[in-house]
């Protein structure tokens, strides 16, 4: 058998040599030239198109001389609405001194009033005495403190998930978590009202982004269906394309609660993972403050990842993600804001732990907050010229102009006058600030009204009536 094969090969070789002899000379020369040409192509230097320009060094110098760059930053006009910040003297707690005037704070996200809580402060003090302020390192390199481990453990237990991971900055939490999972080519279905941190996370992930109308499940389902059809055309691509739905529990930009039960149905129907950003709803919604999952009575394991910051209800700094270990653990090597940033100062972690203690010990606090939200929500209805935007249970509401004056700039000015009017009457409010050119879907201008448990019923009523007065005097 082997010999036969050998024979066969030999025969082919002989035939080739024969063919070579028989070929005409011009044919051989042509082939020789072609071979040489191929060799030349193989060994010639590859060049970029750019380098083919035939500029002389002198011309290049002239071009360099000629080039005038734009200034590093364009000038900012002195009366830019965001240039001159209000200055808060002293702590930004319930009673706040803004620009020298003492007011009641309706602007800080200190929902549970834990910012100036003595217990929280004492816990932070104890931590300061033990650890000092900074951590001087990222988590990997001696920046992991026992307090961090304790806080992660406590947060996981509180949220009833397997694991949690803390970041040293609220904004960086979701912005780092998204690109840890969703990569180029993956698809993210995201609510168009999603906050800026989500938008930046998506941009960093370079995934395909599909925006659906705010809280519109029909629109989302439509997009999911379109994707399903797309997937059937190219099943090989579909089976490696990860899909995510990204929603907020309580929307920062609209104050609405997301329809989580419908989202869960869609999740299993279309096999899409859900990431939930709960910065506003954590420590607010639900009987025990566990957020929007508890609010709707949904098994927390049905959500793939929950992210929240500790800068609102917990009145500390930083953020966390929680969920199953299978999901969360991945961030310990892939979460950029986790790996490459110094860890959270221990005193801030200790403050967050104590705040969690308080939340666990006093679950009625959430009921009180809800009552207050409802109260102001009701009191702010039917103000001529202003509409209340936001859910009944939302502690961060928006007051928008009923009718726009035509330009955003003028609207902002009107709202500013309302804010100033209230400020002069000891109610500290603020306009919601956005980067107008950066936002994907810029929300209309609004005044933020933040409810905290520290505000008494009288103060809530007073705030509502002053806002009513202000609207009357400014808008009519």
């Amino acid at each position: 058998m082997a010999a036969a094969v050998g024979m066969g090969q030999q025969w082919v070789l002989v035939e080739m040599v024969q063919a070579f002899y028989e070929a005409p000379a011009y044919h051989l020369i042509l082939e020789g030239i072609l071979i040489l040409w191929i060799i030349r192509l193989l060994f010639s230097k590859t060049y970029k198109l750019q380098e083919r320009s035939d500029l002389t060094p002198k011309e290049k110098e002239e071009l360099i001389e000629e080039w005038q760059p734009e200034p590093l930053v364009p000038p900012v006009s002195k009366d830019h609405p965001a240039l001159n910040y209000s200055v808060v003297s002293g702590p930004p707690s319930h009673k706040i001194i803004v620009n020298g005037k003492e007011c009641i704070n309706f602007a800080s996200f200190n929902f549970l009033g834990l910012l100036d809580n003595e217990r929280v402060k004492n816990a932070a003090q104890a931590s300061l005495r033990k650890y000092g302020v900074g951590t001087c390192g990222p988590r990997g390199f001696y920046g992991t403190f026992d307090v961090h481990l304790e806080l992660e453990d406590r947060l996981a237990k509180f949220m009833r998930t397997e694991e949690s991971i803390i970041y040293s900055y609220g904004f960086a939490t979701i912005a780092s978590a998204i690109p840890a999972y969703s990569k180029r080519g993956d698809i993210v279905f995201v609510d168009e009202a999603a906050c800026f941190a989500i938008q930046k996370g998506l941009q960093a992930s370079r995934s395909n982004i599909k925006l659906f109308k705010h809280n519109d499940m029909a629109d989302l389902e439509q997009l999911l269906k379109e994707q399903e059809i797309e997937d059937q055309k190219n099943p090989r691509k579909a089976c490696v394309t990860r899909r995510f739905i990204l929603v907020e529990g309580l929307y920062m930009n609209t104050g609405d609660i997301c329809p989580l039960p419908e989202l869960i149905k869609l999740k299993y129907k279309y096999k899409v993972r859900i990431f939930l950003e709960e910065s506003l709803s954590f420590g607010v919604l639900g009987e025990h403050g566990r957020g929007v999952t508890e609010h709707f009575g949904i098994n927390v394991d049905d959500i793939d990842l929950i992210s929240a910051n500790m800068e609102n209800s917990l009145a500390s700094i930083g953020g966390f993600c929680c969920g199953r270990s299978f999901v969360i653990d991945h961030q310990r090597l892939s979460g950029q804001g986790y790996c490459f940033s110094a860890s959270l100062p221990p005193l801030l972690a200790a403050a967050a732990i104590e705040a969690l203690n308080i939340m666990e010990e006093n679950p009625d606090i959430f009921q009180i907050l809800r009552e207050k939200c409802k109260r102001i929500h009701k009191a702010l209805q039917r103000i001529s010229g202003l509409i209340v935007v936001g859910d009944l249970f939302s502690p961060a509401l928006h007051l928008q102009l009923e009718e726009t004056s035509g330009s955003r700039e003028n609207d902002m000015k009107l709202l500013k006058r309302i804010v100033d009017y209230c400020m002069n009457r000891s109610i500290a409010l603020t306009q919601a600030r956005y980067l107008e050119k950066e936002e994907k879907c810029l929300p209309p201008p609004s005044i933020r009204v933040v409810v905290t448990v520290e505000q008494t019923e009288e103060e809530l009523d007073k705030a509502a009536s002053i806002i009513r007065e202000a609207a009357q005097s400014v808008l009519n």
């Binding site: 830019h80 706040i96 001087c136 001696y142 904004f171 980067l435």
Partner: protein, 571 residues
């Protein structure tokens, strides 16, 4: 903190031969480095070989007011080969064990997908975690070691054990006391739980509480922020400054405010992840120059201006150069005088990230600008963090008033992120005043000097011992080359056994064959501490055969350049 009287003052710097500086190179090389045979024995130490060094002095050495000695010794060929073999063996075993796991012969320890979601598209591609599962997991105990004290010169560490080969850890409850800390970025020793900084922070904590609960533009602009920003501007010698809650985000949330589509970013190949992310988020085109290589930078600048934007051929709107003061993995110092000369020549802007160099370099701790005796006005954007030298958290940007005004209105951080925590700010205020001598003592100044002395002493001794040490002689970041993957874990463990905490780094933080240990020298380290570390290092090095150095230094510019580190984004 007391300076050692026995140690020669300014060892290293004064005796440094200065051939090649300022004079035309006698042996010009393609990359502009001069090859200077230096006959004088610097350290009085010879390892049987005549010591020849290639000094790294750029051809426009005239710009430098001080010697600039930065060396990267070539990886010995045998070591490189053995390192690759090591990775080869690890990879083979990785495949074998993955095979065993697949057939359930080996127990599978990692967490798995929920049963209900098994039919979803997998969250991770299998190869994504190959490295983690089979290489990192073996030596995972060298990272994330939890500590339970101030991250000062010595730390207390929580003892932990693993019964399943590092998949999970259990804490024994015991504390390993007084581990010498060579890992924390506590350059000036301000990580303290006693003293003026702590007292001041405690006072502010009682008054203000821990958080802020709002953004700078809404209701989170405290009087403390304004006070801090004035001080930072004064410290840096710039017109104005702005501070942010996180160092990482200072880069990633402000670069997009400065440049955008139609702009060009020229970024050092070894820039920190935060700069890379910021550059990416900005939407500008990114081009990478070789690490600290001015020829590479100049070529990119020339080409960019001459050729304009790709496809559209429009001229670039502006060009921003991104560099760091001290590179945290290489220990190198940016060639700032040359960068500034180039940026002026080509009318581009300079963004200098001083995360590691602020406080740690310069006679009074003002960073790399002071180190080279330059004018802070020549740097357009002075960025830095408070995490390291100041023992706090957060970051800043300093520069012209127009720049800061623009950032106050357009920085992502100012609009969407919670501002700095008051007690953290107080730590910065107090430590910064201390460095400036405004607390009425010379303590801060002594710290800066002590750090410089410790750095030179530690680096000199390590070089004498025959280690391959990367970076600049004045950089408190000291990378010691380990090369082989097996030595990463072994080194970390052996040092911990000897009560010394070190940082070890391997791929992907470094090129694959250049695994290393990194020491961060601190002013809080006493001579005794450093001597203990050196003694133990000597022992461990003999055990693990780490003294690779043959004193053949290779110019930085000749080192391999990994093209895949970044890709150009045109979107």
């Amino acid at each position: 903190m007391v300076a050692d009287p026995k140690r020669p003052e300014g060892a290293g710097r004064m005796e440094r031969p200065e051939q090649g500086l300022g004079e035309p190179d006698s042996h010009p090389r393609a990359n502009g480095c001069s090859l200077t045979g230096c006959g004088a024995l610097r350290n009085g130490y010879v390892r049987g070989l005549p010591e020849t060094e290639i000094h790294h002095i750029a051809h426009n050495g005239g710009l430098y007011k001080r010697p600039f000695n930065e060396a990267f010794e070539e990886t010995p060929m045998l070591v490189a080969v053995l390192t690759y073999v090591g990775y080869g063996v690890l990879t083979l075993f990785g495949y074998l064990r993955d095979f065993l796991r697949q057939w359930k012969i080996e127990k599978c320890n990692h967490a798995s997908e929920r049963e209900e979601q098994k039919d979803f598209v997998p969250l991770y591609q299998d190869f994504e975690n190959f490295y983690t599962r089979n290489l990192y997991m073996r030596i995972r105990d060298s990272w994330n070691r939890p500590i339970c004290s101030v991250p000062g010169a010595k730390v207390d560490m929580m003892e932990r054990l693993s019964h399943d080969y590092n998949w999970t850890f259990t804490y024994t409850g015991r504390v390993i006391k007084d581990v010498i800390n060579m890992g924390s970025y506590n350059y000036l020793g301000f990580a303290q739980n006693t003293g003026i900084c702590k007292e001041a922070a405690a006072k502010v904590l009682t008054q203000y509480g821990a958080g802020v609960c709002s953004t700078r533009q809404e209701m989170g602009n405290l009087d403390k922020h304004e006070e801090l920003e004035k001080l930072v501007a004064r410290f840096l010698g710039v017109e104005a400054a702005m501070t942010y809650g996180m160092g990482f985000s200072t880069n990633s949330m402000n670069i997009p405010a400065l440049v955008g589509k139609g702009c060009l970013i020229l970024s050092d190949e070894l820039n920190h992840a935060s700069l890379v992310l910021g550059a990416r988020l900005s939407g500008a085109t990114i081009r990478i120059f070789k690490h600290n290589n001015m020829q590479s930078l100049e070529k990119l600048l020339r080409d960019a201006i001459v050729h304009g934007q790709p496809r559209t051929r429009r001229p670039w709107k502006k060009i921003l150069i991104l560099v760091e003061g001290i590179y945290s993995m290489e220990g190198s110092i940016v060639r700032l005088p040359e960068v500034i000369a180039l940026k002026k020549k080509y009318k581009s802007y300079l963004y200098l990230d001083e995360a590691h160099s602020i406080g740690a370099l310069g006679l009074t701790g003002r960073g790399v600008v002071e180190y080279f005796g330059l004018n802070p006005e020549d740097v357009d954007v002075m960025m830095g963090t408070f995490t390291k030298s100041f023992g706090a958290a957060g970051g800043y940007i300093g520069g012209k008033k127009e720049l800061i005004d623009y950032l106050r209105t357009h920085s992502h951080s100012a609009v969407y992120a919670t501002s700095l925590s008051p007690p953290v700010m107080e730590q910065i205020l107090t430590s910064m005043k201390c460095i400036m001598g405004e607390d009425g003592t010379t303590f801060g100044k002594e710290c800066v000097q002590q750090l410089a002395e410790n750095t030179r002493y530690f680096r000199r001794r390590l070089k004498e011992m025959g280690f391959i040490i990367y970076g600049n002689e004045d950089s408190p970041v000291v990378p010691l080359m380990l090369y082989m993957p097996a030595k990463i874990g072994a080194f970390g463990r052996e040092m911990l056994k000897r009560n010394i905490g070190v940082v070890v780094v391997g791929f992907p933080a470094t090129p694959i064959i250049e695994s290393r240990a990194r020491f961060c020298v601190s002013a809080a380290h006493t001579k005794e501490i450093l001597d203990i570390v050196l003694k133990e290092l000597d022992e461990v090095a003999d055990l693990l055969q780490l003294k690779y150095s043959r004193h053949r230094l290779v110019p930085l510019l000749d080192r391999p350049f990994d093209e895949t580190t970044y890709e150009e984004t045109e979107d």
